[in-house]
Symmetry: D2
Amino acid sequence: MPSPKEIVNVMMASDYFSQWLGIEVLDITEGNCRLKMQIKKDMLNGFGIAHGGIAYSFADSALAFASNSYGQKAVSIETSISHLVSLVENDVILAEVVQQSNSHKIAIYTIDIIHAITLKKVALFKGTVYKTDKNW
Amino acid sequence: MPSPKEIVNVMMASDYFSQWLGIEVLDITEGNCRLKMQIKKDMLNGFGIAHGGIAYSFADSALAFASNSYGQKAVSIETSISHLVSLVENDVILAEVVQQSNSHKIAIYTIDIIHAITLKKVALFKGTVYKTDKNW
Amino acid sequence: MPSPKEIVNVMMASDYFSQWLGIEVLDITEGNCRLKMQIKKDMLNGFGIAHGGIAYSFADSALAFASNSYGQKAVSIETSISHLVSLVENDVILAEVVQQSNSHKIAIYTIDIIHAITLKKVALFKGTVYKTDKNW
Amino acid sequence: MPSPKEIVNVMMASDYFSQWLGIEVLDITEGNCRLKMQIKKDMLNGFGIAHGGIAYSFADSALAFASNSYGQKAVSIETSISHLVSLVENDVILAEVVQQSNSHKIAIYTIDIIHAITLKKVALFKGTVYKTDKNW
């Protein structure tokens, strides 16, 4: 079985959207990861702040990396996000993952999106994944 | 008060992320809109399918347009999405909005993401917005 | 394999909480059911309206009956509910189930809670279940 | 303005459903509370475990007490719960509240339901409330 680092490298190599977002993988271990990215102009919405889809996408990438890190392919089935604080251009955010459960076929993760400077929680994400029978 | 169409035009003019996504507004009325977009290579994830953040972002733009269409600025506070069917490059999707409630300060919308050819539901989105005291 | 009606009868026989709620099964077919119940004094909260847990519990029973009706035991993993309209003592409510997806191991249902007289939507519920390897 | 303890006493006095559940308020401060309850036979479902509505209702009471503790009446608008571990008759559970945000009109809380003996997380609850203009 490949290591968490090898798996995330393979995933990132063809994860064109995470590449577009500029996501950096700071750390990856079994069931966990730490990610970083910066808000750029193309991520803003009509209010001049980061589109809600940006924090969601960042968290969803963290969910994918953490939940696939064991080598078993896992797919997201249900996710939710609460937006707490607005983000503006050049803000840097971190994703902090907590694995809440990990049974045979289902795992649940909560992911806090944190502003890298103020350390305020920007968004609260929860994701449920289904662990398929396929391996990386 | 500007019309729904005028508001969405103003929003889209500086909504760089919806522009990047290639979102087309097919129709916009008070509390509703119909959107269309096409999956492109930069939207794919490590599984070779559209990143979960793409359907979410598309639905979140629909939420923003529908809930701001009355002229009162509204911001998303809580959203969830269930991913039902994978999307691949070149697939075209539609957003269909239903306003579920609309009180003084809070409104709730459900948004189905539909595959434009098969008409299958691709994702189910629900969003709760807070209506601020500011107008467009 | 027992019929949907036989399964729900077995479930209800030891579902003491659904019995306490006074849930009536109006109809049960594969992947669907229609339920009815009445708000009683013991269901009220400190605001003099039905506790949020009442509409949730009613919807969660509908989720259990609909998702177990095929004969394969299914358990709820993630659920959400939006409360739209308050309920008072003696109000009668209905649960209307829509199966949104039904794959090998995962199924997703949305359930509208409807006021039986005004026909207004009282609450919007979404539930994701995991289909186990055990049968009824 | 009444104290958090006075408010929760007034709420509990007519919260017949929380009384039926046997909820005990261990502690109540501004924006927080600690609750305890025991699973009884009338709370079981057709699987012989606690009905999903029980953990939800317990968490929803915690949300109500914590969010109303400032003296301003607050109502739940959107909630979700993930069920991690089954509960059986006589199990004792605790509710642990974290206030995630608290703005002028909206507040968001996460509530972990904990098994009092094993200290395992039984369920993860998130609730968004709207703060009305009325006071207790």
